[in-house]
């Protein structure tokens, strides 16, 4: 049974307990052992990277160093945490001077960044370590081919030399549930979350463009694997009626919710009622 250090970050636990719970439940069913990391805090987000590169390096190197005490990889359900951790991991593996500098600080806590425990996104670990074949065996209520648009999120897709993530991972994971993956023009585009603190109007426009592109291509549902992207695509829909006079009514599900349902869990197991745009209609697409 593969074991992992579970790094939650701060957004999922505070804003998406349904995501956290659904992830833990599908992981358990599939034999992934996720253990909450001890003594960790926030990744700092791209905002910390922007204003305080050394601080950002150090806090994330610290998280990795804590994981290295047991040597298991780190998994996280958040694209932002994944990006910070993986970027720092990648950078420190290639920059000895910074590694020394960071380790001098970590030494005070008896920690050292070595570069053994790799930061990974939960969905990638699911795909690579459990595999589609094993997941397939657990699908008891496949979806009826309903069209789902995937919002991958910038920070898992790019920069690819750092993230080592490919879109096929997410596509295969959606297909195994019985759903159809909807190809839409703006699939690569940003949800706008990062610019929210500096220009809300622009952030809303980006979310709206994304939703428009998805629905016009025939998506019945959308899926994300990130709390920030979730916020943009799910929560922001509620305000679009006012700002754009447009209503999308496109339910946005966190990936483990879809997988959990297809594995036979019920809507309370995956916290469906917490999704902002009512997502209950996915139940109608489950077959026996």
């Amino acid at each position: 049974m593969p074991s992992y250090n579970l790094y939650m970050g701060c957004s999922v636990p505070a804003n998406y307990p349904n995501y956290e719970a659904a992830m833990l439940k599908v992981a358990k069913e599939l034999g992934m052992e996720l253990e909450y990391m001890e003594g960790v805090a926030c990744c700092g987000s791209p905002n910390l990277r922007a204003i305080d590169f050394m601080g950002w390096l150090t806090v994330n190197a610290r998280t990795i160093a804590i994981a290295e005490k047991n040597g298991h990889d780190i998994v996280t359900p958040c694209n932002g945490c994944f990006a910070s951790l993986k970027d720092v991991y990648h950078h420190l593996k290639h920059d000895d001077a910074h590694k020394k500098q960071v380790n001098a600080v970590l030494k005070k806590e008896g920690l050292e960044f070595k570069g053994i425990s790799k930061p990974r996104h939960f969905v990638e670990a699911l795909y690579s370590d459990i595999g589609i074949e094993e997941i397939q065996k657990k699908i008891t209520k496949p979806l009826d081919g309903v069209g789902i648009a995937i919002h991958y999120g910038c920070h898992v897709l790019r920069p690819k030399d750092v993230t080592e993530f490919s879109p096929e991972i997410y596509q295969e994971l959606v297909k195994v549930t019985g759903a159809t993956v909807i190809d839409y023009p703006l699939w690569k585009q940003c949800c706008g979350a990062t610019v929210l603190p500096v220009n809300e109007e622009l952030a809303i426009r980006l979310a709206r463009d994304k939703l428009k592109s998805m629905t016009e291509a025939g998506a019945v549902f959308a899926t994300v694997a990130c709390p920030a992207c979730g916020n943009q695509l799910d929560l922001q829909q509620l305000g679009l009626k006012e700002s754009y006079g447009e209503e999308y009514n496109l339910p946005v599900l966190l990936y483990p919710q879809i997988l959990g349902l297809a594995m036979g869990m019920d809507e309370d197991d995956v916290g469906l009622s917490m999704n902002r745009v009512p997502a209950g209609s996915i139940i109608e697409h489950l077959t026996e």
Partner: protein, 180 residues
């Protein structure tokens, strides 16, 4: 790009003559010496980065122009620009650059240089404060929602003091301290 160029006026290829005496010829080296600046000089101004950028239409300086400005030494203009802070960090420009210029990463470097000179949008200073005071951007407020999902009300393993101590000693401490 999803919407037509919203700006009035002359096409972006027409630029004002550059006053050479105002250029900081060291700026390019400064960026090149930073973690992601290696390929900066390889830029051949094709503007593919701008074509890939979903928000370049609302920018006065487009991504390819900012890279050009760095190479030319327009330090002040780049570091005082709103654009570097509006950047979504979506890496679409960087993914498509045929010359492997790490455009997005270089804008991160620029933000760090701007931050060193206290040129930071107010809202970002606010986030820095939150990070330093709370050790996280979001705190659990609705713990009943967690309990509804059979989760521990408080996040298991969370400890924020070490995080706060680290960033207090780096630039965040200066930024937030300088505010008070």
């Amino acid at each position: 790009m999803t919407e037509a160029d919203e700006k009035d006026g002359p096409p972006v290829v027409l630029v004002d003559p550059i006053d050479m005496s105002k250029l900081d010829s060291e700026f390019r080296n400064e960026i090149k010496s930073m973690p992601y600046g290696d390929e900066l000089n390889a830029c051949f101004a094709c503007s593919t980065c701008t074509a890939a950028c979903p928000i370049a239409n609302v920018w006065t300086y487009k991504p390819h122009q900012l890279i050009r400005m760095i190479i030319l030494g327009m330090r002040e203009e780049v570091l005082s620009s709103d654009e570097i802070w509006l950047c979504l960090t979506c890496f679409q420009c960087q993914e498509r650059c045929p010359q492997k210029v790490r455009v997005t990463d270089i804008f991160f470097d620029c933000k760090n240089l701007a931050a060193e000179e206290s040129k930071i949008p107010e809202t970002i200073v606010g986030l820095a404060k939150t990070l330093m005071e709370k050790g996280q951007l979001y705190e659990v407020t609705a713990d009943w929602e967690r309990e509804d999902m059979d989760l521990e009300p408080a996040v298991p393993g969370l400890s924020t003091n070490e995080f706060k101590d680290i960033i207090k000693a780096t630039r965040t401490g200066k930024i937030v301290g300088g505010e008070e």
